[in-house]
Symmetry: C2
Subunit: 446 residues, 2 copies
């Protein structure tokens, strides 16, 4: 971080930006390796109290920069106000597993699988890739049974991990459900759903353009520019009291009401977190529920989640629909199963088959540019679609979060991570080919 | 609140003080009745966004004063950083209930029970008492079966409610467990457990004196005095960045290190929240775990809780052992069952029989003064003991929280509330005689 920026940026802002965006602030020197930066090795927050140099506190330190990040991804609620995505009070629906001996055999097989990272000459094993990716947790489900599960760093099976922009895919799934059920018309303009959007650039965008991030709205994430919109958004979103004399918008929704136009709606895909928060507002207006409450009602409760999830909120209690969710690994596996099986889990249908059909069909690839590791992809209803031979699609979040669904291999792969850099472009080269190697291996078992 | 105080007090402080103490700041005019102040009737936080005058926000409003309090007691995590008291990931242990028809009959019987409030001539029905007490939830368990359960205001069966100083009783139960198991010697001085307590007045107190709140430590809660210790404690505990130029202690534990003496250790019971936080530190030092983690391990997981609970934390991640817990009504019922049955629940023993024996025996009544509604009581291991014919004892928290255990009637009664005033002295007159009437009624059924 340049010294200019560091003077301007509070830790709260750094979190907000890391949450919402494809780029993040980090030390520019070579980061520690995964094993060396393991929070238990670093000694973060160990002891009562921890030694002063091992403390990670919200007011005083940049808690969301590497290597502190590796601890903080499992502890966001200890820094920030949050709302619960309740699982209800009943018994969770257990996940099926391979029998123990077969599970251990499969673990050995998968660990030893080799693949060639993108743009590399040298092969890497699956297990090596877990460390290359600073993996905190990985779960692989094949034909409805868990075949692989490992935890590292700060994550345990009964813990939770920030899912960053995978939050967008939950928001998008909820919106697509409303569209497929005929409750929300995605051809409506935003101003027809939320009149008080006023003369914001969002007013004239259709709900579908918001869902697919093809709006023409001004929102810059250039961290070198102290006037970049990301800083204004972060200040608006911070749940801390606003500084003396602050005149900007207060909260996500007040920010959305003053967004300026840039380009034309529908012309191109631009990855902008404000679209997801706009969509969250649309969902709440249509359902009369916060996205947190609606995610509980439509997903967490009926899918038999084993842990409540949670979502950060702004100073007015509005959940961060673009990046605020923290959840357990296995519950994200349940969400992946639901997507793989077109809306069914444990014999229950949670949303119409058209929801996943629509998402799998993808957005318009001709509007999709600038993601070198997903060359022929598209983005629709807040999901990434690879348009590959397996029909794969994914939820993705900065620092290496993914729910990767491979319909042809009948595979769901969830990976949670704390990669030093935010952009998945740095992580995909040792991830996407690895997922494909696992898919191929599992298909060979069929 | 006087205008002087209101200038000095931030909303964060008001919460901290309401949490930890027997007195709170409130409007001095006659408050609204329970039905009129129901948060759904008031319209707090309804709509997306709510109208400006119905918003309850952390930075801008006094969210923990009546009547906003009636909403906020169910939503603390949306204002404050918190740590989870995990229930684990398995199936909860169901509570036994009376069969439905018998349950409804019992509801009619209990609702119609009459009793005479303390210092009153006119009798009141049980059901009237629920409104007089601004009840949010009440659960009555008799001989191991739920016989009565109702929800009001902000609370639902799958929601959670701040338990205020009942947190102390969880802290005390954990400490007494360590003592009874021989892990913690309650005759040790605090300085022998935590050398860095330095020359704090706590240094020379025994662990038992801390557990029973008979320490001689200076800690004033006079809200009219801007230099009262409660304000210093609240500033230390706030997870917000400290104001420019702040030179005071940072966090609960830093505060405890600079407490001055007042009176002599062991002479008398003084209800001081700092004792509970001192005890939390002792527990963490002895166990190598935060009280949150230890409460999960020893209580929430093995008792088969149906919801995770949570606990507010200071700016260094230290849980508020004196008042920070929020939990579900039925899980507090499980905790009460555990106390009623001497440490057993669902056929499992969670702590030695000596723990409840010690608590039921009570503290030294001759040292207990100043609680007119509990005339012959005592306080030990952070539990209130009534020394009445039924051997009743209780966890108690401001604004009307209680887990009331009546061994003779084999009854556990949990009541969560948002009474306008903090002090239980205002709530006991319509509560304690009501509990006794229910106990008598249930015994008549035997």
């Amino acid at each position: 971080m340049s010294s200019l920026i560091s003077r301007l940026v509070t830790p709260w802002m750094v979190v907000a930006l890391a949450f919402g965006t494809a780029t993040s602030v980090m030390a520019q020197s070579a980061p520690l390796f995964a094993r060396d930066s393991d929070p238990r090795v670093m000694g973060w927050m160990q002891g009562f109290p921890p030694p002063p140099d091992k403390l990670i506190t919200q007011p005083d330190s940049n808690y969301f920069s590497f290597p502190k990040l590796r601890w903080s991804v499992c502890h966001l609620r200890e820094f920030l106000p949050t709302a619960e995505i309740s699982r209800g009070t009943g018994a969770p629906a257990p996940l099926d597993y391979l029998p123990h001996a077969a599970f251990a055999d499969m673990a050995r097989e998968i660990d030893a699988l080799t693949f060639k990272p993108m743009n590399a000459d040298k092969a890497m094993t699956w297990e090596e890739s877990l460390f290359a990716n600073y993996t905190d947790g990985v779960l692989i489900i094949h034909k409805g049974r868990v075949v692989y599960e490992r935890y590292f760093g700060c994550l345990k099976e009964d813990g939770k991990h920030a899912i960053m922009s995978m939050t967008k895919s939950i928001t998008g799934l909820l919106a697509q459900t409303l569209v497929s059920e005929g409750v929300l018309d995605d051809r409506l303009r935003v101003r027809d759903v939320i009149p008080e959007i006023g003369d914001s650039a969002f007013a004239s965008a259709t709900v579908r353009q918001v869902m697919d991030m093809t709006t023409g709205v001004k929102y810059s994430e250039d961290y070198a520019d102290p006037n970049a919109d990301i800083w204004l958004y972060s200040r608006a979103a911070s749940p801390l009291p606003k500084p003396e004399g602050y005149r900007g918008p207060d909260g996500y929704w007040a920010y959305l009401q003053q967004v300026k136009p840039e380009g034309r709606h529908g012309d191109a895909f631009h990855y902008k977190t404000i679209d997801s928060d706009m969509l969250g507002w649309v969902i709440s207006r249509v359902t009369g529920k916060s996205v947190t409450e609606f995610a509980s009602e439509r997903l967490w409760r009926p899918m038999g989640a084993e842990q409540a999830a949670y979502q950060t909120v702004d100073g007015k209690g509005v959940p961060f629909a673009g990046g605020g969710v923290t959840a357990g690994l296995r519950d994200l596996g349940r969400l992946g199963l639901l997507m793989l099986n077109g809306g069914e889990i444990n014999g229950k249908r949670l949303f119409p088959p058209g929801v996943v059909e629509k998402i799998r069909a993808g957005g318009d690839p001709s509007k999709f540019k600038g993601f070198p590791t997903i060359k022929n992809g598209s983005y629709t209803s807040q999901w990434w679609v690879f348009h590959n031979e397996h029909g794969a699609f994914a939820a993705r979040g900065v620092h290496g979060q993914t729910i990767y669904v491979d319909p042809k291999a009948q595979m769901v792969l969830v990976r949670l991570a704390s990669f030093p850099r935010a952009q998945n472009a740095f992580i995909d080269p040792t991830s996407l080919p690895a997922y494909q190697a696992v898919a191929k291996h599992l298909m060979g078992k069929d």
